[in-house]
Subunit: 587 residues, 2 copies
């Protein structure tokens, strides 16, 4: 290989990581990946069906969304173990996005969901190519936590209707509860028995089965993995029950006939009006999906000291959503539960994902006829038990203790999501956290400092016994200066000078100033000019290198009435004309 | 006075500053204020009429908006010399806001303008009472400069029609130019002569009259003030011309009959639909007006080492707009030109403003019949010459030199204001400057540091020859940690650790970290946990006091695998188990 060829191969491998790990794929890895794939397949069958129902789509679309996307991720993804497919929150967001423009159960609804996957894919690819992954950072952790918790509550509430065998719809908690209460009387007893029974069983599997299996002598890891088969057992048992006793005719809602076989090629709609009404939702779904996915991938990668490349993850998730869109699926992302199972089952490479896709393909070919008798209540139970792990109010307590500002962001996000739905909730969360950040940094900590006797240190006059001078005042700002706090600094300096009529020199001590933007530069110029008008001099001390570089590109230093001192101590020596107050401690 | 009474009086004086300066009002101040009032009154008569026309309102509303608001400001304002009334940019914004919902020249238009003043007043009062003045800081200086420049261009272009004696309307530059070109052929020659003549005369007065008067022996200050009477001279001359030669019948547009006398009591509309369509504009007008006004007030106050209280200014401007609303005016704010004239003329206290109001009242009683013959072209010339001083493209060059990010914000603001109008322009400016700030702080400067030989200093390994260790890596972050950069730090640390397989200790050096929000805390927890999973320890060094206080409110320090060191040097000594690499320089 020539140098140019090898550079080209390196670049290609960056965008198509499979070329990297695929070259050294070993027999050991094959075995590990196959074992993991079998386990994940068993877990995914009920979960995929259930999430499709949550999204308001036919059950088989959940299976479709779990095949081709996994293969696309295996080619482009940088995580060794991330499992891509339908997840709870994105399914809920899909239902909210599509439900507001077309009626559930219509062919247009399915087309819109496919189009949403296409748009999300396109947006993710675009973000990846232009390296815009940083946009996901505008979602603060507390906002995400609050959003996920509130989504979990809405999802659980939305599944209650299936457990009760009634109809009730709504995008937010208030609507859902209202409809549930209105229709609760019409519940079907057999449905309730199946639903409540499944919930109890699945809870027991989650909490009680593993300890039991361990006591029976199974190794803990095997017991853990076996417990993941709980949903499959519930699905099998209730399907057989429904078939044997013909529960469909007794008013129990079943999944109904599911087309057998692999998905056929589908295409998104290219209607401009549909695109424009879905675009905003596609952006929200992409960002939420990306944030969740990268966080799962990084958690798992860190355990083996592997590396995730967020910008490449955008491309991989983009490709996965494109793949979902052309194969009759709907928006997908990396899921927490399935990735953890994949990891625990020993998956070595993304090939495990490809094998899982094949496993699900076989399921789609062989098992779909059986699904006709699967009660919807069982799937609802699967969802409820799965999403309860998303609901976590501890963030409220934690943020309350740590910072009231973050607490406010969480609370607003939770309340608005519950009251007005997922899209408004997450948008409000982003808005409030940006506002809070601007507010906090708009009132930086500013201290008047003096010299600690016998040292070259300068500390806050309010907290320490320090030496000060009537004609010199030193102000330390503990924040970078930018538009949101520039005027605050001006006000502070003007007030201070107005109060201290003997002051002749103002020193701005800058060790904590990491940047000065144009607004702050103009404020400094204004401070300099106004102090000059009043007969005072402005000096700077301890300006950081990059900040100084930037100041030199402006006229500020030319007009500065005073000097820039390397250290505060030097400034005091120069301005007092001596170094008499520097009684160095003997060392 | 008892202590409680005096405290109450202090509080009252804070909200009603007139109680403070009014108590010691002297005969000297009276003389100074009266002189200033006469000069400002002469200057304000043509300016008020002109700005009302710019706002699409009858000329007399400009006079009305310059009376009661001045008195309200005199009672509540903290600036000694600020002159409140109609200003160019706010008049343009009023025209844009009201023009998009009602047709110019209708009674509804006037009512909407009065209502806009009421809503602006209410919003400013609300901001003042709840001390929300910091919201004005979201407007960065470059955005304001760009916005003012673009507004100046739109205003000048909008007045060309009066100079040419044609009709042309539009809220943005493209519409205006299109209409001007379409109708240019229908121009009235006499109107053009008056308009162009006035522009040339006013320019000469501005640039050439003062030097001439000084040469003729006048003291410079008197010459300066006399030059301010230029617009009055132009108004008087063209009015007489129009009257003598009956120019109205020759196609020259005149101001027409103006109701004689003081404004009668007016009330804003209380229609909810009008309120909701004006609310957004009222917010923008309030914030732009407040920012301009405070900046003028502070510039002038600094010259006499006086103090401006921004939150009280909100209350004063709120009261002024309320006053404008009940006396047939429209939105007002502190104007630059008039305040400077007031200052230069020697105004001592806000009483000068009250006397100006009386002067304008006399003008409204005595002079209005004469205004019927005033050509609109003269007023347009006054506006054009006045706003040309607002147009300043030097901000483009200045920001280009200083920071490309700020340059982008200015350029976007100017282009969007010109292309889409003032409201979209200023909103886009706010949005882009917040996005740029988040983007910049989302990629903070992070350096791996090592020890400068023979010292206790630690510097960037890329810039200095320093001592490092294969098993210890020290990372210094030069930015506060918050949601927008938390994940960037995570990525940085994971990548670094994945690249250096021998590393066992990671030290985060925190001297430049002024705050850590909840998102960043969770990122630190994640970093700690993931490093632990990989067998590494995380340490902190040089954490600031307030940051440490906050960390102690969380569980982070409990779970931290390593230690928190007071200094980086201490950390290195502890982790290397010796202090052998610390060869202290002899002092």
């Amino acid at each position: 290989m020539t140098k140019a060829e090898s550079a080209r191969a390196g670049l290609l491998a960056r965008y198509v990581p499979v070329l990297d790990w695929g070259r050294t794929y070993s027999r050991d890895s094959l075995t590990n990946d196959l074992v993991a794939a079998v386990i994940v397949t068993i877990m995914l069958i009920p979960q995929s069906l259930a999430y499709a129902l949550l999204a308001g789509l036919p059950a088989e679309m959940g299976l479709y969304a779990s095949m081709l996307p996994l293969i696309a991720y295996a080619v482009f993804g940088t995580s060794r173990v991330l499992a891509v497919g339908p997840v709870a929150v994105v399914s809920l967001m899909t239902a909210a996005a599509v439900g507001k423009i077309v009626a559930t159960g219509t062919p247009q609804y399915i087309e819109a969901a496919i189009t949403l996957a296409f748009l999300s894919g396109a947006f993710l690819l675009m973000m990846g190519v232009f390296r815009l992954g940083f946009m996901a950072n505008f979602l603060s952790h507390p906002v995400i936590s609050g959003f996920i918790t509130a989504s979990g509550i809405i999802i659980a509430a939305s599944q209650l209707k299936h457990i009760l065998g009634i109809t009730a719809s709504g995008d937010n908690l208030l609507e859902l509860l209202e409809n549930l209460i209105a229709n609760a009387a019409s519940g079907n007893r057999i449905t309730i028995a199946i639903g409540v029974g499944s919930v109890v069983f699945l809870f027991w599997v989650r909490k009680g089965l593993k300890p039991l299996l361990v006591r029976l002598g199974l190794p803990p890891r095997a017991a853990e993995l076996l417990a993941k088969a709980g949903p499959v057992a519930a699905v099998a048992a209730t399907t057989i029950l429904a078939h044997q006793f013909d529960l469909g005719n007794l008013g129990v809602k079943l999944v109904g006939e599911v087309p057998q076989g692999l998905p056929s090629l589908s295409l998104p709609s290219f209607s401009p009006s549909l695109w424009s009404s879905l675009a905003g939702s596609a952006v929200l779904i992409s960002i939420i999906g990306f944030v969740e996915s990268v966080s799962v991938a990084q958690t798992l990668a860190a355990k083996k000291r592997q590396r995730i490349v967020p910008d490449q993850e955008l491309i991989a998730l983009g490709a996965s959503n494109m793949a979902a869109s052309v194969s009759g699926g709907y928006p997908v992302t990396g899921g927490f539960a399935r990735s953890v199972v994949n990891f625990d089952a020993g998956a070595d490479t993304p090939a495990a994902g490809a094998y899982t896709a094949i496993g699900l393909g076989i399921a789609a070919l062989a098992l779909t006829p059986l699904l006709a008798y699967l009660p919807q209540a069982t799937l609802a139970a699967t969802i409820i038990v799965a999403v309860l792990s998303l609901i976590d109010f501890s963030i409220l307590k934690k943020s309350w203790d740590y910072s009231k500002a973050d607490f406010t962001a969480v609370l607003v996000t939770i309340l608005i999501t519950l009251a007005l739905g997922v899209e408004t909730g997450v948008s409000a969360g982003v808005g409030i956290s940006i506002l809070i950040h601007l507010y906090r940094s708009s009132r930086p900590h500013i201290a008047v400092v003096g010299q600690v006797p016998g040292t070259e240190h300068f500390r806050n006059v309010k907290r320490h016994k320090v030496i000060t001078h009537t004609d010199i005042v030193t102000v330390r700002v503990d924040e970078s200066l930018y538009f949101a706090n520039a005027r605050y600094l001006e006000d502070y300096v003007y007030d201070m000078v107005a109060e201290r009529s003997e002051v002749r020199h103002v020193i701005l001590m800058c060790p904590a100033i990491n940047a000065i933007d144009m607004s702050a530069l103009e404020s400094l110029e204004a401070i300099n000019q106004r102090l000059k008008d009043a007969g005072l001099m402005l000096h700077l001390s301890e300006v950081k290198g990059p900040v100084m570089d930037r100041l030199q590109r402006s006229d500020f230093l030319k007009h500065l009435t005073g000097k820039v001192f390397l250290s505060q101590h030097e400034a005091m020596c120069a301005l007092t004309g001596t170094d008499r107050h520097v009684e160095k401690t003997p060392k």
